[in-house]
């Protein structure tokens, strides 16, 4: 009798534990399911502000292109356009940070693929305009284009940050752009071929000089100053 009672008590504990565990698993499953739904909704909510920023930047860039085509190579327009390029550079950097954060979740709404492509085109246009200003305004600015892959590249992220810092320290006379490869954009393929991009990160200064591999901040400054030594960062 005692043996049976003992067994019954043991079974009661086991059943009770299993029930608690099952209820807990069910609650966790519900919470995770809801979190994915919330995450997806949050990702959708982020689409519109990013697209708006891209459109705003596109408009700013177009007005700069217009200004450059009307009155390029003038002592009045060059500083104006350079200042505009500096602002767009900052905004591009902000959009990139926002997009990277927004893309960290799963699952992502389908709009994100087209946002990545839109941003890539914006960066290309920016690079083309800055190269034009570089040519038109007597080499008072310098451009840099960094290629990074769509897979993990820790040094690319690091070099991207360094470029932003050098740009800021040069008072936006050094204008870097970064471009992601593997986005199925013909223009990017063409550039990869032209500059023979095989490793990442690769930096192209002033559309001419190709430097492969990771560069430290001082190496970036050295390379930038090699081709334009009147920038404020070259003095120190």
């Amino acid at each position: 009798m005692e043996r049976r009672a003992k067994r019954k008590a043991v079974n009661h504990v086991l059943v009770s534990r299993k029930t608690k565990l099952l209820v807990s698993i069910l609650i966790v499953a519900i919470i995770i399911g809801l979190s994915f739904i919330f995450g997806y909704i949050a990702a959708e909510l982020k689409v519109s502000p990013i697209v708006n920023s891209i459109n705003q930047d596109q408009a700013n860039l177009e007005s700069l292109i217009l200004t450059a085509s009307i009155s390029s190579n003038s002592s009045f327009s060059c500083p104006l356009i350079q200042a505009g390029l500096g602002t767009v550079s900052q905004e591009l950097s902000n959009i990139y940070s926002e997009l990277s954060g927004a893309k960290s979740g799963y699952p992502l709404p389908p709009q994100y693929a087209s946002i990545g492509i839109q941003l890539a085109y914006l960066r290309l246009n920016y690079w083309i305009l800055s190269n034009k200003i570089y040519a038109d305004c007597g080499h008072s600015i310098e451009t840099a284009l960094m290629f990074y892959p769509n897979s993990v590249c820790i040094t690319c992220g690091e070099e991207g940050q360094e470029l932003a810092v050098v740009s800021q320290e040069s008072n936006y006379t050094f204008l870097p752009t970064v471009i992601e490869t593997g986005l199925n954009i013909n223009e990017v393929y063409a550039l990869q071929k032209v500059y023979n991009i095989t490793t990442y990160p690769t930096l192209v200064i002033d559309g001419k000089y190709v430097i492969k591999g990771y560069l430290t901040t001082s190496q970036i400054i050295n390379d930038a100053c090699k081709y334009l030594d009147n920038m404020s960062i070259c003095n120190s």
Binding site: A9, V10, L21, S24, I27, I32, G39, G105, T217
Partner: protein, 420 residues
């Protein structure tokens, strides 16, 4: 690596959430599980055994707390066991009670468990239960009355453990330990509900004398004899129960080295006993009061927790190396701008939701435990000390935990060497 990191994050977060919810459900039941309906007409006789060493005048507080107990007079006897190393002041304090029907036993033996065994085997009268009490601990006046209840409620109860609290905490280190003890009370109760309580602490546990005799008394060579006895009782088929409303108080270590020394001994003993009894605890036998599934989980998680310290070191190394790399390349760029806030909002994803929900449930559980044990909660004070306990103190204990494990391996080797 990205996919691996993501999967690892989801798995870890889900497991953490599962653990938090599971324990909250256990606690919902735990705090309502104790009944006081049983009216005991004939209280059993209890022997209060107090082994001594260097407790000095504090022994008086321990004995007085028993003498002031609500347990019927004449139903308990007090035995003070003197160790051969017990100092003069403690001896003097012990002998000062001689006129008050307290038996002082000079065992001329060294070691707490030897003293306990000597007193139990040679001096006890017809007491059915033994209350083990350290000489640096005191008991609440209702402790014995509450501890006897489970012996009348359930069959084959071997030991009933009390809720142990810190005696008058004042200094920060004592306050942190206060919260550690509070959370341990809840954990101990939860584990006893799941039939997996592996330690009934020395200060204030009530032991069934027959069960103790059957199990074979205290192991005289074990550094955590209370845990060893608890495990042996479980293996012998006895239940280990816990009463939340039976409270004992103990003096905490007052310095960090003393605390680390105490924890080193506890954790060495814990791992030693877990390794020693691993087979008996995990292998299934009929009609036992052990939930082997949970025991296996406890053993596995104890083993896995040893990875915590090396992992923490690894992450600190990764973080610092990245920080040093950034500082050397980009310099110190601390920007707390509007854009930083925007970037933070944009990086909010489903893992953030899971994290926030987990933290909310964990904080709720924490206050739920404190409210049920302390009966009142101060969100600021309790929140502050609980956070200090959880966020800082744990790392300190992890060092003692890891060192204790390594020492337990040495002890196992030593004990195997002695056997052969």
């Amino acid at each position: 690596m990205d996919v691996f990191d993501s999967v690892l994050s989801y798995v870890l977060m889900s497991m953490l959430l599962l653990t938090v919810i599971f324990w909250l459900i256990v606690y919902f039941e735990t705090f309502d599980s104790e009944s006081n309906k049983i009216k005991i007409k004939n209280y059993p006789k209890v022997a209060v055994v107090i082994p001594t060493l260097f407790e000095g005048k504090f022994l008086r507080n321990s004995v007085d707390s028993v003498l002031n107990s609500n347990y019927p007079k004449g139903k308990y006897n007090i035995y003070i066991g003197l160790n051969e190393r017990t100092d003069k002041l403690t001896r003097k304090t012990a002998y000062s009670f001689k006129n008050r029907n307290i038996t002082v036993v000079d065992t001329h033996l060294n070691g707490k468990s030897r003293v306990m065994n000597y007193v139990i085997k040679n001096k006890l009268k017809d007491e059915k239960f033994i209350l083990s009490l350290d000489a640096d601990s005191v008991i609440d006046k209702n402790l014995i009355n509450k501890l006897v209840i489970p012996f009348f409620e359930k069959k084959s109860v071997g030991i009933v453990a009390p809720s142990m609290l810190i005696y008058k905490p004042k200094k920060p280190l004592e306050m942190i330990q206060k919260y550690e003890y509070l959370f341990n009370i809840a954990l101990r109760k939860g584990l006893s509900m799941l039939s997996t309580l592996l330690v009934a602490p020395g200060p204030g546990s009530l032991i069934n004398r027959k069960a103790l005799e059957k199990a074979g008394y205290y192991d005289e060579n074990n550094i955590t004899e209370d845990m060893e006895l608890t495990m042996r009782m479980l293996i012998h088929g006895y239940r280990i129960e816990n009463r939340l409303d039976a409270i004992s108080y103990t003096l905490p270590p007052k310095t960090i080295p003393a605390l680390m020394k105490q924890r080193f001994r506890w954790y060495s003993g814990s791992f030693f006993n877990m390794i020693k009894y691993r087979k008996q605890l995990v292998v299934k036998r009929e009609d036992e009061n052990i939930d082997r599934g949970t025991i296996s989980l406890i053993l596995i998680s104890s083993g896995l927790s040893l990875l915590a310290l090396p992992l923490l070191g690894y992450y600190i190394y990764l973080y610092l190396s990245k920080l040093i790399f950034q500082l050397s390349q980009v310099g110190l760029k601390f920007t707390l701008s509007y854009q930083s806030f925007v970037n933070f909002l944009f990086s909010f994803n489903e893992l953030s939701f899971i994290g926030i929900i987990t933290v909310i449930i964990a904080i709720y559980s924490m206050f739920y435990i404190l409210k049920n044990i302390n009966k009142k909660v101060s969100i600021v004070k309790d929140g502050f000390w609980s956070m200090i306990f959880i966020l800082i103190y744990g790392y300190l204990l992890a060092i003692a935990w890891t060192a204790g494990f390594l020492n337990s391996l040495r002890l196992i080797n030593k004990s195997n060497g002695t056997k052969s």
